[in-house]
């Protein structure tokens, strides 16, 4: 029981990170109907910018307090947002209105470019950083197993919820959010009504990239490691989360992220343990579990948990 509770806490923390990235996928898919394949790599860039900023700060002798973390977070958001904007400007905007596969291919190309750009500029080795946010709180002690929440996990949950709250306010209450929702419903009509659709789409990419930067920073702080290939698998899982929650739905993205994070953590924790059928399972297959869920969702629940069913008109 204590063990399960501990895994639940770990899963929620991981799921929050997936949720933040999933929002980026779901927004872009909602507004221009394409999978932004490079989004996972935008997340990776965010982690790297944070890493570099942390090293820069610590070499400047700044204490690694909450102020430094906040500063790094903001720098990372700004630079990564610039990356998101440039990717859209270079690879997607010229292809708007072209046939559907073209942006997908250029997105894959952009993903390769970002990965290899970081590999060339920062080296192929994984970069470790020392833990910055340390400490933990013991919640419960039972059966010789202590359930604890680390400060980092609390930070992840708090930051994610805060960022999501701001973001939800932005989408539902502001003029910009209204423009975004209008573009999502009908881009041509929104354009006719005087909304600058190109600008709105650019801003969508900027916001998505900023959220991915938050996720990247949190991931770096939690796992203490960044490498140029980390975006691919995290990206696919976050996309799975977006699909699971219902693509186009923002609360769905967070919900899907939480579910994927929990399933992955539980699989690693319980597969192969000496209980019922579990001993048949292999913890190495945790990614297979995530992908299996993706396939199952798409087959049995194509519109996701909180999404709207798509009606095809002839």
């Amino acid at each position: 029981m204590a063990y399960a509770l501990q895994q639940l806490i770990n899963g929620v923390a991981l799921g929050m990170i997936y949720g933040l990235i999933a929002v980026g996928y779901t927004m872009v898919y909602g507004i221009i109907g394409m999978i932004n394949f490079a989004h996972g790599d935008i997340f990776m860039v965010g982690a790297f910018v944070s890493l570099i900023s942390f090293v820069l700060l610590s070499s400047g002798g700044w204490a690694a307090g909450p102020g430094a973390v906040l500063l790094v977070l903001l720098v990372s958001m700004a630079i990564t947002a610039l990356y998101g904007w440039s990717v859209e400007r270079i690879a997607y905007r010229p292809l708007r209105g072209s046939f559907r596969l073209a942006p997908l291919i250029s997105a894959i190309g952009m993903s390769i470019v970002l990965q290899n750009f970081v590999q060339v500029s920062q080296g192929a080795r994984a970069k470790p950083i020392e833990p910055i946010i340390t400490g933990s709180v013991e919640l419960w002690h039972g059966n010789g197993f202590a359930v604890s929440v680390s400060t980092m996990q609390v930070v992840i949950v708090v930051v994610t919820l805060a960022v999501m709250a701001v973001f939800t306010w932005l989408v539902t209450r502001t003029r910009l959010g209204r423009a975004m929702r209008a573009c999502e419903q009908d881009r041509k009509m929104a354009g006719l009504l005087g909304i600058d659709t190109d600008r709105t789409i650019s801003i969508t990419f900027v916001i998505g990239a900023a959220l991915a930067a938050v996720a990247g920073t949190l991931y770096l702080l939690r796992y203490g490691l960044a490498d140029f290939f980390m975006g691919f698998i995290v990206g696919v899982k976050a996309f799975t989360a977006a699909v699971l929650g219902g693509i186009g739905s923002l609360p769905g993205a967070l919900l899907g992220g939480l579910l994927i994070g929990l399933i992955e953590t539980m699989w690693s924790a319980y597969a192969g343990q000496d209980m019922f059928l579990l001993r048949e399972l292999n913890p190495a297959y945790k990614d297979v579990a995530a992908f299996g869920i993706l396939i199952a969702t798409l087959i049995f629940l194509p519109s996701g948990l909180l999404g709207r069913a798509e009606v095809e008109k002839v």
Binding site: F48, S98, R100, I105, M110, T197, D198, A284, Y285, I295
Partner: protein, 469 residues
């Protein structure tokens, strides 16, 4: 403006010059398109300079952290140390500025483009009919040419492997319109089928080749069943997941596949029972034909083997296109609902497309295994799928010639830049983006209908609904 207002590009009968190079014209950048009779725009040079300046600023923001500040793991594995490279940043920003400026000036001052007429389209089509036999002739004669080196031969084998994979995937994506991002899974199934059957049961390559195709086709049906209802990007992501599942299973099922170590010592193919051996000896190819033993023989044999396999793929595709099944694929690509209404069995049509496409992937996989004599999960990553799909899309979906040219350009170019080492993949990805932006419909952007009433005329690729399924 967004392409909502952009008409499909048909064979223009004179008239409007069409800007299809993807570079937004000055008026396209803002929200409202600037009409030709609007107030005179800013002087182009000033505008170009301003725009290039903005681009350089953005580039500065992009490159300062990631290029300017390089982190390295310090000595003794301790904390990270920082190294600055401001000169590199300055060079990159200068390149961006100059490039953007040149691009702006070019689009402002370039001569008006000649409109594409029916006559010109016909001319291009006529040239196209000569290109294909020319390529074929060159491919057949290549190993016999005196100046072909061993390296050239190996490169030829590599390019032809990708040509075959491209043609195989073309059946699924180009003809049936089913977007498949996990094609490498079938390649892997074929390779592991041959590797396991030959090392475990000692079966020969020629027995295993059809078996590899059959197993891969089964894998194709296995993938096809659950995804029957999915379309477009959803299908892409599920096929991607399928490819990754196969790879993870290959990586972790150590008792069968050897895990990350792979399977080595896979037998090489023989020529009607005559083996190839550099040392010669009784019962070998060189002994039977009374030739000087040479390692080139096997290379030449492998070259012709993959050439025949690739041509088989091409031939089957061309034949199938004219048959009811092929027409059903193309109809499915254009409109699934109409297909259903016309009584086409959509399930069978999709499954056969997956199965036949996968079968050729399996053949190519078996060839890969016998050529390398070694397989490991490392060869079957997502990036391979992406490269194969890129070949198909860059070549022009559904165009057999285009796929071959794209494979030559991408894979040949990739090998030609071998000296660039780690920059190679960067250039490769950038090339994918640039080609796509420059020609979204691929290198060969005209299509000929498989069936037509009366005269068969080439049409623009924009009129074909590819990749919607």
């Amino acid at each position: 403006m967004s392409g909502a207002s952009r008409l499909p590009e048909g064979p223009h009968v004179g008239g409007v010059p069409h800007n299809d190079d993807g570079v937004p014209e000055p008026g396209e950048m803002g929200g409202i398109p600037r009409g030709p009779e609007a107030a005179p725009p800013r002087p182009p040079v000033a505008h170009a300079l301003r725009d290039a300046g903005i681009s350089a600023l953005v580039a500065l923001g992009l490159f300062v952290p990631l290029v300017g500040l390089r982190t390295d793991v310090g000595p003794g594995g301790g904390g990270l140390i920082l190294r600055t490279r401001w000169a590199d940043v300055a060079i990159l920003v200068a390149i961006v500025f100059a490039g953007r400026l040149a691009m702006n000036l070019w689009s402002a001052y370039r001569p008006a483009k000649k409109p594409r007429t029916v006559l010109r389209t016909a001319q291009i089509a006529r040239i196209g009919t000569f290109v294909a036999p020319l390529f074929l002739g060159f491919a057949v004669l290549m190993p016999l040419l005196p100046w072909t080196t061993r390296y050239g031969l190996d490169l030829g084998v590599l390019v032809l492997t990708y040509v075959m994979l491209g043609w195989g995937l073309n059946i699924v994506v180009g003809l049936a319109g089913l977007l498949d991002l996990g094609y490498v899974a079938f390649y892997a199934v074929g390779a592991y089928t041959y590797a396991l059957l030959s090392t475990t049961y000692g079966l020969s390559f020629w027995v295993c080749l059809p078996l590899a195709g059959i197993f891969a086709a089964f894998a194709g049906v296995l993938l096809g069943f659950p995804v029957l209802r999915l379309r477009g990007d959803y299908l892409a992501i599920v096929t991607l997941a399928f490819g990754e599942i196969i790879r993870v299973v290959l990586l972790n099922w150590v008792s069968l596949t050897g895990g990350p170590n792979g399977i080595s010592g896979i037998p090489r193919p023989s020529f009607f029972g005559l083996s190839f051996s550099a040392g010669g000896g009784p019962g070998t190819f060189s002994d039977f034909f009374g030739l000087e033993p040479s390692p080139t023989h096997r290379a030449v044999f492998l070259y012709y083997l993959i050439l025949v396999l690739a041509l088989l793929t091409n031939w089957v595709t061309i034949r199938l296109r004219r048959q009811p099944l092929g027409r059903a694929w193309e109809a499915l690509r254009e409109d699934e609902i109409a297909c259903r209404a016309l009584g086409i069995n959509v399930t069978n049509t999709k499954l056969t497309a997956f199965a036949i496409g996968a079968m050729f992937g399996g053949f190519a996989g078996a060839f890969f295994a016998t050529r390398q004599a070694f397989v490991s999960p490392e060869s079957f990553t997502f990036i391979e799928s992406a490269i194969i799909l890129a070949i198909v899309v860059l070549g022009g979906l559904g165009s057999q010639l285009g796929v071959a040219i794209a494979a030559l350009v991408l894979i040949g170019g990739f090998e030609a830049f071998r000296d660039l080492e780690e920059y190679r993949m960067l250039v490769f990805g950038a090339a994918m983006v640039v080609i796509m932006v420059w020609r979204p419909r691929g290198l060969v952007s005209t299509r000929r209908p498989s069936v037509a009433l009366g005269e068969r005329r080439a049409i623009s690729g924009d009129l074909v609904g590819e990749g919607h399924g």
